[in-house]
Structure formats: structure tokens, C-alpha cells
């Protein structure tokens, strides 16, 4: 076994062990990071590999989140037996799959615009989706619950509940496994599947086609790549990823509110993939972890860090401090290392390898 394999196995074991030690706060932070990672992988497929800027991620995440809550929610809300937003009462697994498909379909439905618009025009137009999405979330109260949002039904896999009950006394090595611990493993699985699928997609025919489009649309078209078709497909796949991120976000938060899916949330996703390195899947995951965990970490240690004030007090708030940090990170990355963390890693590796590999 090479050193790398050993390190990887150690890393995976560490990830699997975390719920045995970490408190709820860190698990919750981790779940948010996993959701963000799935969305960021989808976005990097679109922005990094296809070269198509999109600022609409928050909209598609919202479709996934609300879609799941609506499809899996209890029947007969609003005017029916219970005073909650309406639902269809589907089994959670089916609802989750359908919600992802729904987000993908929404992406496909946008493709008449996506296929016609070029480059930056599409990126700017996609902002509109976020604002229109906000409007729908606030106003379609029967489905979304309006300003107050709605609860997310717990996930369920063949009778195993990803909540605190069914089985209600699940204990692993003396640690009670509740909702957060159970979701942790579901999240790891989903992130791993997302990475695997994206890697395969990029390595094969579609990936090469997308990269050809990014490098030169005309050349790609001349080589027989259907440019509008692939671009629409990339938009669809990326939206489906965002939808999956939304489903998992709803599960780990337990509730969805419109406020979470605003324009700034879209920007967060863009920041993640830029910090990680555009087009790099591992980079997107690392960027997602950094951007979603940073505010939480600063919040948690606010009383011990210099310059950062505890929430409510005067001075620099943890949320603002996080925004400054990652805003600055994007500037630094773009000016000094435009390929982000992934590029940095590649360069370090090349430098280390040189002495052995060079033929003297």
C-alpha cells in the first residue's frame, strides 16, 4: 500500500469516527458543509468545466429543499386536518429522488434561455431566478409556508429513521445515535456518491465535450459537439446537484425558510468553488467546508479570538468577520493563484516530485 492510500484510509476512518466524539454543534456544522459540498460540486461542473457562470444555485437548492418537504409532507394541510403547509405524503426516499429530479427539470426548463444566451449574459440573467424564487417562496404559502417556512419530514430508509426515534435506542460504543449522528453517515455517503459521479462524468465523453466548449465554442461545434445541447445538459445536471444539496440541507436543518435561499447564498457557492479551484471536484468540497464552517467556527470561538466580538456586542461580528475573510480569500486566490487550492496542491506535488522524476 502506498503512503497515499494509507492516508486516505485513515482520513475515511476519521470521518466515520467523528460522531462518536463531536458534540451536536460540530455535527450540525458538518452536515451544512456536506450539503454545501454537494451543491458546490454541481456548480463547479457548470462554471469550472463548462465555463458557464451561474448565480442561480440558491434557487435550485430551494427547489430541492422545498420539493422534498412538499412531496414528503403530510397530506391535508391548510384547510385540511392540520394547520401546516400542504404535502403529498410520499415516502421520503421517493420524495427525495423526485425533488432532485424536480430541480433538474427546473434547470432544463431554464435552458431555452440558457441555450440562447451567451456567457456573461446568462450569468447575469440567472440572478433573476434567485429573486423570482424568493418571491414564490414568500407567496405560495400553501406549498412553502410563506415567510415562516415549513418543517422538513424526517428521512426514512426501509424502516430506518434518520431521526431520534425508530429505533429509538440506537447506541454505538456507548454513544447514543440520534438524528445528527445518523444523518452524518447519510451525508458522507451522498458526498462520496456526488464526487464519484462527477469524476466519472468529467473523465468520459460528456466531460471532454464540456471542456471543449469551455475552451472554444466554435472549435467544439466544428468537432461535432452539440453546443446548446451540452450546455443545457450541464445546466440540468448542475441543478440536480443543487437539488440534492437542498434535500440534505432540509434534512439537516429540520426546517426550510425562504431567508436561507437568497442571493448571498448563491454567492457563497461561487466563493466555494473559486477558493477550491474552478473545475476541481475535490477543491469544491474543500471550499464548501471552509466557507460553510468558517462563520460557525468564528461564532463558537468568538470570546477567545482577537478582533472578533461575541454576538450582540460591539465590534466585529463573527458573521461579518467570516465574510471579510472569504471575500479577501477570493481576491487573493484570483490575483495570486487563479486555480485555487487545487492548483496549489498540484504545484506543491510537482515540486516535491521533481528530484526523483528528473532524468539527470
Amino acid at each position: 500500500m502506498s503512503k497515499r492510500t494509507v492516508l486516505w484510509i485513515a482520513f475515511v476512518v476519521l470521518l466515520l469516527w467523528i460522531p462518536l466524539y463531536a458534540e451536536g454543534f460540530w455535527l450540525q456544522t458538518g452536515l451544512f458543509a456536506m450539503s454545501a459540498a454537494i451543491g458546490a460540486i454541481g456548480l463547479t461542473l457548470l462554471v469550472g468545466s463548462t465555463g458557464q457562470l451561474s448565480l442561480a444555485t440558491a434557487f435550485f437548492v430551494a427547489i430541492g429543499a422545498y420539493g422534498y418537504c412538499f412531496l414528503a409532507g403530510e397530506k391535508g394541510g391548510f384547510g385540511g386536518a392540520i394547520s401546516a403547509p400542504d404535502g403529498l405524503g410520499w415516502p421520503p426516499l421517493l420524495a427525495a429522488i423526485a425533488a432532485v429530479a424536480l430541480a433538474g427539470l427546473a434547470g432544463a426548463a431554464f435552458s431555452p434561455i440558457a441555450g440562447r444566451l451567451k456567457g456573461i449574459y446568462l450569468g447575469l440573467a440567472s440572478i433573476g431566478l434567485v429573486f423570482i424564487g424568493q418571491h414564490i417562496l414568500q407567496n405560495a404559502q400553501a406549498v412553502t409556508g410563506g415567510f415562516n417556512g415549513r418543517d422538513a419530514p424526517a428521512f426514512d430508509l426501509f424502516g430506518f429513521h434518520f431521526a431520534d426515534d425508530h429505533p429509538s435506542d440506537l447506541v454505538v460504543f456507548g454513544v447514543p445515535y440520534g438524528q445528527l449522528e445518523r444523518l452524518w453517515y447519510l451525508g458522507l455517503l451522498l458526498v462520496a456518491l456526488s464526487m464519484w459521479y462527477a469524476r466519472n462524468l468529467l473523465r468520459q465523453r460528456p466531460g471532454r465535450a464540456l471542456e471543449a466548449i469551455r475552451d472554444s465554442e466554435i472549435a467544439a461545434a466544428v468537432m461535432g459537439v452539440s453546443v446548446p445541447g451540452y450546455r443545457a445538459a450541464a445546466f440540468t445536471v448542475s441543478s440536480a446537484y443543487a437539488g440534492l444539496a437542498g434535500v440534505f440541507l432540509a434534512l439537516s436543518f429540520g426546517r426550510v425558510v425562504p431567508e436561507s435561499f437568497g442571493f448571498l447564498y448563491s454567492i457563497d457557492f461561487l466563493v466555494m468553488i473559486v477558493i477550491g479551484g474552478l473545475g476541481s471536484i475535490g477543491g469544491a468540497v474543500v471550499g464548501a467546508v471552509i466557507v460553510s464552517a468558517l462563520p460557525q467556527v468564528l461564532l463558537h470561538y468568538a470570546d477567545r479570538l482577537p478582533l472578533v466580538a461575541p454576538p450582540g456586542g460591539g465590534g466585529l461580528q463573527p458573521g461579518d468577520a467570516a465574510r471579510f475573510l472569504y471575500g479577501a480569500a477570493v481576491v487573493v486566490v484570483l490575483i495570486f493563484a487563479s486555480d485555487g487550492l487545487a492548483g496549489l496542491r498540484r504545484r506543491v506535488r510537482l515540486r516535491n516530485r521533481k528530484p526523483e522524476g528528473s532524468i539527470a
Binding site: A125, G128, I218, V331, L334, I335, S338
Partner: protein
């Protein structure tokens, strides 16, 4: 009918303010190929400075100083952040993304400074209205429209007649040839950013005046409406910025005025109308109303 006319008129005046904001956006795009998201923060900075200084300098004086500061801020952003990227031949996306990051930095700082306050813009007209052709129009909006149109007129003249305008147009149409003719591209670029900054400051001061409440922590987000305006008119068309502004201003005022009749579409529709108009226009004309269509030659 009189209500319709009133809404139409006030919409056009709001549109002039939008047009002025969008024009700065378009100038920067034309001269440097940068989609400048930080423009929204500069609008907010301009409005904030006017709100802060109008007490000691008077409204006009505060606008003048604020315009100078914002022009300097714009030029500084170009020199420090955009130029290194441009030198390296960064693509339009990377340039757009760095301005998004700059918008985060500037916007976060401005939001911290404004806090939860609502700072009055300091416009001397207050909430007074004037009767114009039988319609009641806020005086601040009327002045804003006159100033905006005058500024655009001056800009069109400068753009077509002055050396600076010629330099900028040639830099926009063919940077290499312009450089060979002795035009300093970096100076043209910084100049465009400065002009955009000054326009943003003036537009910002009127943007938050009556009937708007003043500078709040949402001003930067609201100023993002300049993006659909600019895209609608065509990203590289200054005339398009005005037409786009008028269209969106009127559409917004009409939906706000008739919101009782549009209640089935939900509350707050006027905030999303710019984007709905944008989608409709883009489906019909993918490069905006007056934007240059990209022609591909092999």
C-alpha cells in the same frame, strides 16, 4: 387614467435614476470588459457619504465631495485589483467574480457602518411634491430626473466629441489598435472606473431620497437592480442603459401602483418585476435591446 399617468411619470423618473446607475455599469463594461458587481456597493457608499456629510456641507456640496471620493474609490479598485488580473489575461468570468468578492468586502463594511439605522438622504426637498400635468410628483424625483438627463447629455457629448471619449471608444472597439495609436489603455480603464464611481455617487444620493426612506443596510442589494437594467438595454450600450432604466422603472411603478389588482401574483411583486421583464426581453433579444450581437467568424 390619472393614476396611470402619475405612475407612468414617476416610473420614468425612477427609471432615470436606474439609468444613471446602469450607465456607470455599462461604461466600466465597455472600457474594461468587467461586469462590475462592486458598482452596487459604490452606489451605497455614495449615498452613505452624502447622508453623513450633508449636515456640514449641504446636499449639493456633499454630493460633490462624495462623487470625488467614489471616483477615487472606483479608480483604486481598478488599479489595485482589476489591473493585475487584466495583465494576466484573465477571462470575463474571473473579472466578474473578483468584483463579486470586492462587493462582499465593501458591502459588509458599509452594512456594518449603517447598522440598523435609516439615514435620511439629506435632499432639501424632503417629502414635498409638485403638480406636473395634473400628476403629483415628488420633487426629489423630478430633480433626479433632470440631473440624470443632464448628466447623460454631458456624457454623450464627452463620449462623442472629447479626446477622452474618442480614446475610450477606440479602446473599447479594438484595444490593440488603440494601444498602437498611443492610447494608454490603463489610463482609459482607470478613467472609466472613476467616471462610473462619480455617476454612482450622484445616482445613489437620489436613489435613497424620497419616496425611498434613506440609506439602509439593504441599499446595496437594491442597487443590484442596475444589473437587470444594464443587461436589458445591452451591456455595452449607454443609450440602452437609459431605455432599460425607463422600462424597468415604469414596470416597477405600475406593478407597485396596481398591486391590489395584481394581488393574485403575491405581495412585493414590484421587487421582482425587473427580472421578469429581463427574461422576456432576453428571450426575444439575447444580447439585450441595443447590445452588440456577438458575431462569430471562423
Amino acid at each position: 387614467m390619472s393614476q396611470f399617468f402619475e405612475l407612468l411619470l414617476s416610473g420614468m423618473m425612477l427609471g432615470c435614476i436606474y439609468g444613471l446607475i446602469a450607465m456607470g455599469f455599462v461604461i466600466v463594461f465597455k472600457a474594461t470588459n468587467v461586469v462590475n458587481f462592486a458598482h452596487a456597493s459604490i452606489v451605497m457608499l455614495g449615498a452613505f457619504l452624502v447622508a453623513k456629510w450633508h449636515g456640514s456641507l449641504g446636499f449639493v456640496g456633499a454630493i460633490a465631495i462624495s462623487a470625488v471620493v467614489c471616483a477615487a474609490a472606483g479608480a483604486l479598485l481598478d488599479l489595485v485589483f482589476i489591473r493585475p488580473l487584466r495583465r494576466r489575461g484573465a477571462g470575463i468570468d474571473a473579472l466578474a467574480i473578483i468584483t463579486i468578492a470586492l462587493n462582499i468586502l465593501l458591502g459588509t463594511q458599509l452594512i456594518r457602518m449603517v447598522g440598523n439605522d435609516l439615514l435620511p438622504s439629506g435632499a432639501p426637498w424632503g417629502a414635498k411634491t409638485t403638480s406636473l400635468l395634473g400628476a403629483d410628483i415628488p420633487q426629489a424625483r423630478l430633480v433626479a430626473a433632470i440631473v440624470a438627463i443632464a448628466l447623460m447629455g454631458v456624457f454623450f457629448l464627452a463620449f462623442t466629441r472629447s479626446d477622452w471619449g474618442v480614446a475610450m471608444r477606440s479602446a473599447a472597439s479594438d484595444p490593440e489598435a488603440a494601444a498602437l495609436m498611443g492610447i494608454r489603455l490603463s489610463r482609459v480603464a482607470a478613467g472609466a472606473w472613476a467616471v462610473a464611481g462619480a455617476l454612482a455617487a450622484i445616482a445613489g444620493a437620489f436613489f435613497v431620497s424620497f419616496p425611498a426612506g434613506g440609506v439602509s443596510n439593504a441599499t446595496g442589494l437594491l442597487a443590484l437592480s442596475a444589473i437587470p437594467v444594464a443587461v436589458l438595454g445591452g451591456l455595452d450600450s449607454t443609450a440602452g442603459a437609459l431605455v432599460g432604466g425607463l422600462l424597468i422603472g415604469v414596470a416597477q411603478q405600475l406593478t407597485a401602483g396596481y398591486q391590489d389588482n395584481l394581488a393574485f401574483l403575491g405581495r412585493g411583486l414590484s421587487n421582482v418585476v425587473p427580472y421578469i421583464v429581463l427574461f422576456v426581453v432576453l428571450l426575444w433579444r439575447p444580447s439585450g435591446l441595443f447590445g452588440t450581437r456577438e458575431v462569430t467568424r471562423v
